[in-house]
């Protein structure tokens, strides 16, 4: 009864808010906590710095929170403070990215970034095959911010798959690989210059939707936009499913995005915490990949996708 009156404090540290995906995740945590009257939240953001995050988590531990939701900047760098939390008997739940110490976390709800990169390569291969009959063409890779797990893992997934595809299909070429840092303006500038240098680009893979938006705008600026389906169309695929990404897909400017759903993902973590605090620890899996979907203009408004959730639209609507 006493516990019911005194809500349990959950500490949350998100790696950064510099990206719509993490804003979605934060909103998922906040709404998830609101849905549980027994929980309250201390909400922090580490601004992309692992040291700041370690400090924030330590401050949360010092306040004796009942549980921690961590979205680590780096799986290894978070380990020392996670161990501190373990020592203080505070359960740790990791979101999107784990802590590299296995059982030190109760649950690790992961986005499979390597798979996202791989599926991006496959999508491009599929479109090129539809265009040329065989998998061939010139592809640009605009990767995300170097040194971030999302950027590096997506790149690894894409690069590995692309290497496989191109060794099987000699006509498939990577004409440029540049880091656009998850920054739309960088994506814009690099794409502009690549378009000036190459007039035969078939597809652009992007580390996230912001990069993709930059690419889309650059294609428009260079007067190189032709609608999807036209053989001269430049295929653009992003990752995340931000509101602007969805909008660009609806308008036919962008071909596809690979979307996870940070809202439902975060809500699930909060559910696990509730479950954990009520003593039902057995039902919580140690590790779980949160599913993702490929979104194109064709499936964007189908019931299955609605069922999965278009977080970009939902977040903006809130």
């Amino acid at each position: 009864p006493a516990a019911a009156q005194q809500p349990a404090v959950v500490g949350y540290s998100v790696s950064t808010l510099a990206n719509p995906f993490f804003q979605g995740m934060t909103k998922g945590v906040v709404t998830g906590i609101k849905a549980h009257p027994g929980l309250t939240l201390i909400n922090t953001s580490a601004n992309g710095d692992a040291n700041t995050q370690a400090t924030q988590v330590l401050d949360l531990i010092n306040q004796h929170v009942a549980a921690l939701i961590l979205n680590p900047i780096n799986a290894n760098a978070i380990v020392p403070v996670v161990r501190r939390a373990n020592k203080a008997h505070i359960p740790v739940f990791t979101l999107d990215r784990g802590a590299a110490c296995g059982k030190c976390q109760v649950n690790f709800l992961e986005t499979d970034n390597v798979a996202l990169g791989k599926e991006g390569a496959d999508f491009i291969a599929g479109r090129l095959k539809a265009r040329y009959g065989t998998i061939k063409g010139n592809v640009v890779d605009l990767e995300g911010l170097l040194g971030t797990t999302a950027g590096d893992d997506r790149e690894r997934g894409f690069a590995t798959e692309f290497a496989k595809l191109s060794s099987a299909n000699p006509g498939l070429k990577l004409v440029a690989r540049q880091a656009a840092d998850f920054d739309a303006d960088k994506g814009f500038n690099i794409t502009t210059q690549l378009l000036a240098a190459h007039n035969d680009i078939d597809a652009i893979f992007n580390g996230n939707d912001d990069n993709a938006i930059g690419a889309v705008r650059a294609i428009r600026q260079a007067n190189r936009f032709v609608p999807i389906g036209d053989p001269k169309h430049i295929v653009v695929i992003g990752i995340d499913g931000t509101e602007q990404g969805l909008s660009a897909i609806r308008k036919g400017q962008m071909d596809a995005t690979l979307s996870q759903n940070p809202l439902t993902m975060a809500a699930q973590t909060v559910n696990y915490i509730e479950q954990y605090l009520h003593g039902d620890k057995a039902g919580i899996p140690a590790h779980q990949f949160w599913p993702h979907v490929l979104l194109t203009k064709d499936n964007l408004d189908t019931p299955e996708v609605k069922q999965y959730g278009l977080w970009g639209d939902q977040v903006a609507a809130q």
């Binding site: 540049q178 880091a179 500038n189 912001d210």
Partner: protein, 336 residues
């Protein structure tokens, strides 16, 4: 400022430029700007090794990519000439960008929305100016605080969301073309030209140099120091506002996280162009060269498809090299 610094303080191009008569004048002005050697070296290297470099499309793409940092660097030039610094420009670009976006979504007519963005930028600049001149605070701290506050406000007013989907008439400001020319580059060109006139050919420009060269002497000579400094920070803020508009238009969207770190690039461009953080020195032409050098480097890295891990290293090394040429050149000419 140390005496030796003052010893090698070139006249910063101003007075030379003031007498520019396209014949010997420009030659002399360029001669003052020894960074031109670095600029030419990089251009030549790229022209020779990269066939695509000299295409019209590529050169326009460099100009387009340089337009945002160029617009902001012009404002920073004014500030640095007065021996100040404006660290807030990157955040102000983001803040004015989202405010302009919100104005558009609130159905402001496009010109009014643009003015809103520029006006909010000018207001941020006025805040900097007030704190620096009246409250007597250090420009570094004031603009650092505004860096944080404007960025925070950008997040607060948007709730972290991207504002997007603007009419083409707005987007064209940043991403449209006039004939073959990118409008953003044209805007930057106008800004550079106006700034060049202002700084090298007007009374206000001379006053800005004087305030930067010796504030006390300027005051005693009857120059309105507070007003001059205020104008300078307001210009910088307003140009950051214009930058926010251009960026929002280019991306058809405004993000609170946009343009992080832009201030450092803008300051770098100004310093590469020969300005000194100790004031009294610097020129619009120098800044233009600095901006273009940064643009050239990035373009070269993209064209040569340099692997991302190497990009930063090479960026640093090339900037180092370009400025090294400059400083050895100055040393050789006994200007040290």
């Amino acid at each position: 400022m140390s005496a030796s610094e003052s010893g090698d303080t070139g006249s910063g191009g101003r007075f030379t430029l003031a007498r520019l008569k396209l014949g010997g004048g420009l030659g002399r002005a360029l001669n003052e700007l020894t960074i031109v050697v670095g600029f030419v070296a990089i251009s030549l290297y790229l022209a020779v090794t990269t066939p695509a470099f000299l295409s019209t499309a590529n050169i326009l793409s460099i100009l387009l990519a340089s337009s945002l940092i160029g617009i902001v660097a012009v404002g920073e030039t004014f500030v640095i000439v007065t021996s100040g610094i404006d660290l807030s420009v990157g955040s102000v670009v983001a803040f004015t960008g989202v405010m302009t976006g919100l104005a558009i979504h609130a159905h402001f007519p496009v010109p009014l929305a643009v003015l809103t963005g520029i006006g909010i930028g000018a207001f941020c600049g006025a805040f900097n100016a007030f704190a620096i001149t009246v409250l007597n605070m250090s420009p570094f701290i004031v603009t650092l605080a505004v860096l944080a506050m404007a960025r925070g406000l950008a997040f607060i007013v948007t709730n972290g969301n991207t504002i997007f989907d603007f009419p083409d008439s707005f987007d064209n400001i940043g991403g449209g073309n006039l004939g073959p020319l990118p409008i953003a580059a044209l805007i930057a060109a106008v800004v550079f030209l106006a700034a060049w006139v202002l700084l090298s050919r007007t009374v206000l420009g001379a006053e800005i140099y004087a305030v930067g060269g010796n504030r006390e002497a300027a005051r005693l000579a009857g120059i309105p120091v507070t007003r001059t400094l205020s104008v300078v920070y307001i210009i910088s803020g307003a140009l950051a506002g214009l930058g926010g508009v251009v960026l929002a238009g280019r991306l058809d969207s405004a993000q609170p996280i946009a343009a992080v770190g832009l201030e450092l690039n803008a300051i770098a461009a100004v310093v590469i162009g020969g300005a000194s953080l100790f004031g009294g020195k610097g020129s619009v032409l120098g800044t233009l060269l600095g901006v273009l050098i940064i643009g050239l480097i990035n373009n070269g890295l993209t064209l040569k498809n340099v692997q991302p891990f190497w990009v930063q290293f090479i960026q640093g090394a090339v900037i180092f090299g370009a400025v090294l040429v400059d400083s050895l050149n100055q040393k050789r000419r006994g200007r040290v």
